[in-house]
Each structure stands twice: as structure tokens, then as C-alpha cells.
């Protein structure tokens, strides 16, 4: 039997908490998306999800 094992870090292990000094939620999300695309995640091999408010 062949199997593929998907090993993923549990929540909090590799997640990044950050604070941006932008009041507008849409603008903050856009800025964080830019940061993810440029550094926090490598879109070639990683996906990311943004949760505003730290929830």
C-alpha cells in the first residue's frame, strides 16, 4: 500500500503574529498580504491565511 503522509505544523508552531500600524482593516490586510508574498511565505511552496484581530 502506498501512502502519502501530510505533515503540517500545528497552529502556532510556525504562525507569525504581527502588528501593523494601519487603522483600516482592508488596508492592513493588503499590507500583510504584501508582506506574506515577499517574505513571510514563499508562494512557490507555501500558502498562507490571514486572520485579523489575532483570532
Amino acid at each position: 500500500v502506498k501512502a502519502t503522509v501530510l505533515v503540517r505544523p500545528k497552529e502556532g508552531i510556525r504562525d507569525v503574529d504581527l502588528e501593523v500600524d494601519i487603522a483600516d482593516a482592508n488596508a492592513a490586510r493588503a499590507e500583510i498580504e504584501r508582506m506574506c508574498g515577499e517574505l513571510l511565505a514563499n508562494p512557490l511552496i507555501e500558502s498562507f491565511e490571514i486572520r485579523l484581530g489575532g483570532a
Binding site: 517574505l39 513571510l40 514563499n42 512557490l44 511552496i45 507555501e46
Partner: protein, 231 residues
Amino acid sequence: VSDRPLVAVVVFPGSNDDRDAAWALGSVGAEPTFVWHEETSLPGGTGAVVLPGGFSYGDYLRTGAIASVAPVMSAVREFASVGGPVLGICNGFQVLCEARLLPGVLRPNRQLEFVCADASLLVEVADSLFLRRCTIGQELVIPVKHGEGAWYADEGTFVQLAARGQIVLRYTADVNGAMGNVAGVVNEAGNVMGLMPHPEHAVDPLLGSADGGLLLAALVDAAAAHRLGAA
């Protein structure tokens, strides 16, 4: 003042092959000089840049990710944009990929184990700046030592790179699960190269191989040419 071409070896916190690289470059005719990662410019007269192996900034996020935005990288990016030769070795390769100066990314080895061995490589392209002292199909023996050296790109990019001759070195066998056994790639302009094997550890037959000297000597040739061009 030395007549030897000046090659800047960038030192990140965690680099551990910087001194080996400098020694090896000196053995093939360069004047190596170390450049700390906090620097925002390269020394005047720099003919080539080497990003050495080891680690950088703890390799947090992903290997080479933090180093890709280090202060010195703006200067490296600018140097590359005007045709300056840049060579990334192992962690340096990871940094250049994360900086998007080279295509692809280095993933954890397929076997999820650190690999430390002599690797046989096939020269795919000989008209590359970095392989001018080699011939197409030549087999080189250069050691590898890495845990995250499996080069990867999306299928479309891989096909495009192969067609353009940007895949310059391949392993003759599966070493780490790299896509297409890719060991080294260059950028589209051909003046930036990254490879996982360590040429600086293969410059003396007493240590098993001098094949790495072919790459480094070609880099020194390119450094001399770039310095002349810039003068």
C-alpha cells in the same frame, strides 16, 4: 594594491564557509574580501560577489529567507542588475532563490536527512559565465552537505529554464530529491548562479577533487572582466 580581481564574500550571522570560500578564491587568483551583512554597499572595485554556505539568521521562516532582505542584499541586487557576477553556494543559493534573484526554491531533502558526500555533477551548459573552464557533459566531483537542498520550481518554470539553458549543473544520480536532479541554476541574464555543492571544498586533489576550482577560477575570470568593464 593588488592586481588580483576583488571578490566580495558576504558574511551573514551563521555563515560558516566564508573563510573556506575566501581561501579557495585566493588559491585561484582572487583577492577576497569579507563584507558584513549590515553593510549597505560593496567595496569599490568589486568584481564578483560570493554568498557562502552555512546558515544565516538561524534560517528562520525558511532557509535563506531573512538573509534575502539583509541590508547588504540591496547592494548585491544592484551589483547583479548591472551584470556583476554573483555566486551563491549552498545557503547562498537558498538566499538568492529567496531574494528572487534566481528561480525556484530549496526544499528539505527528499530523505529528510542531512546529506554529506561527494556528488557527481554533469555540466549541462558550458557557455555559462561560471562554467567556461568546463565542457558540456564533463563530470565534476564536488561535495555536498545540506539538509535542505532539493531544488524545486513549478513545472512550467522548469521547462522554460531547461529550454533557456539556465539549468547548468545536474547530479548524475538522485542526491536529495531535487527536481530533474538540478544542482545549479543561473538567472536569465546568466550573471547570477547558485549551486548546492561546495566548489570551495574541492580545490585541491589532496582533498579528493580540484573540480570546484574550475568554477571558482571562471568566477575570477568573470570578476576581472567585470572590473575592466566597469573601469
